[in-house]
């Protein structure tokens, strides 16, 4: 087993560290061949790196630091005591910007005196109107339904965690979130808008609308909340909260 290389560590987590009994060492390295656990729940104190599948034991982290994999350097988990607060704040902000991005025109063009603008829903509907049902359906899910779901779920999740309620509901929400996060593609859509606009330079006059900026902010929040705050961190947060409740 590898030890976690972290920026700094001290005992702040209420999780009691599990006692492992090392049965045998292989020659010259500290790889544990077999280990004893008190019960299956003790496995919560271990983490397997998602990139290289190395087993690590979890260590308590100082506020605002992260633990990295000693093999490949990938981030394993972070600890931040204010996670539910800014998680909730950011998901509400994101939701507001998402609504703005859908209501207002994204871009407006002018060709030979004729003007035309698009919004996100209009882009999707035009695919359906032209008979491209599969592409339309795919776009609906990838750039509308899934991002909306992710932010609504995040909002609900962090509210529940802050209220320290919904033991089973938070679990279901987290599972749902794990299934839909790989399918949210607003960031790719934003780049696509830029590519499409560059293609049009020279043919038309382009005016960028309010929704474009709203979408840009939304994508930034989306990147932060989906890519930086890992689902594993939320699972750990949930466990800590339940653990605290059980003690009381």
């Amino acid at each position: 087993m590898e030890t976690i290389s972290s920026l700094s560590c001290c005992s702040v987590l209420p999780i009691e560290r599990m006692r492992i009994m090392v049965l045998s060492y292989s020659e010259g390295s500290d790889i544990i061949i077999a280990m004893k656990l008190e019960n299956e729940d003790a496995l919560d104190n271990f983490i397997i790196c998602e990139k290289c599948f190395t087993l690590h034991e979890e260590i308590p982290l100082e506020n605002g630091t992260k633990a990295c994999c000693s093999e490949c350097g990938a981030i394993l988990y972070r600890y931040d005591s204010k996670l539910p607060d800014y998680g909730l704040a950011l998901s509400v902000t994101g939701l507001i910007f998402f609504i703005l991005a859908n209501l207002f025109p994204l871009v407006q063009i002018e060709i030979l005196g004729h003007g035309q603008f698009i919004t996100i829903p209009k882009t999707i509907f035009s695919m359906f109107e032209n008979g491209f049902y599969f592409v339309g359906l795919l776009c609906t899910f990838l750039i509308f339904i899934f991002p909306l779901m992710i932010f609504t779920i995040n909002m609900l999740l962090f509210t529940l965690l802050k209220m320290k309620r919904g033991k089973n509901l938070t679990k279901e929400l987290l599972i749902l979130l794990a299934h839909i996060t790989p399918w949210s593609m607003t960031d790719i859509f934003l780049i696509s808008i830029l590519v499409a606009l560059v293609k049009l330079i020279g043919y038309a006059q382009i005016h960028i609308g309010i929704a474009f900026w709203a979408l840009m902010i939304f994508v930034m929040i989306d990147l932060y909340i989906v890519k930086r705050v890992r689902l594993f961190d939320i699972w750990m947060l949930r466990k800590r909260i339940i653990f605290d409740e059980d003690i009381k």
Binding site: V107, S126, I188, V195, K199, F232
Partner: protein
Amino acid sequence: MIEIDEDKLIRCPVCGAVNIDKGKENRCRRCASAIYHHKSFSTEKSWAFLITAMIAYVPANIYPMLITKQFGSEEGNTLLGGVIMLWEHGSYPIAMIIFVASILIPVLKFLVLIYLLISVKYPIGKDKKVNKHKLYYMTEVIGPWSMIDVFVVAILAALIHLANIEIIAGMAATAFALSVFFTLLAAHAFDERLIKENK
């Protein structure tokens, strides 16, 4: 007290919790989702999705992606044709982005997945040096970016809708979207633990 080997510990693909490999029926102790472990058809699902994706990629390259109707005349552009046209017009960065997103990434992803699927079943002598976990992780990360072309077509078709000039999406848009969709499914269906078993 339970005594287990380190090798027996597996990661739940949904929630990331560490589980004990119990053999046939593995359910995550935290989120209760199935952790696949079927020895008899471990790679078949992924193969099926991958082959579908490769079949869909053929019409995506043959048929036009964008059809431009300008003052009565119609002009179709295929995937590669669009890239070449952009290159000739001098927009090199955009040509590069489209080329990477819609040709390089899908083809690379097909090759990497084929390699992974074959190598986990029939280990080839020298490939122990290749970091397959990293390879798989990379395909997962870059995969969705091939959707750029589909989105661009959707945006252009919605935006250029005037009396004299009109852009319509072509057959290839559906085929390409299908291809990307099935490659993503193939990558998700691939059981990462097979890599570890053959190490």
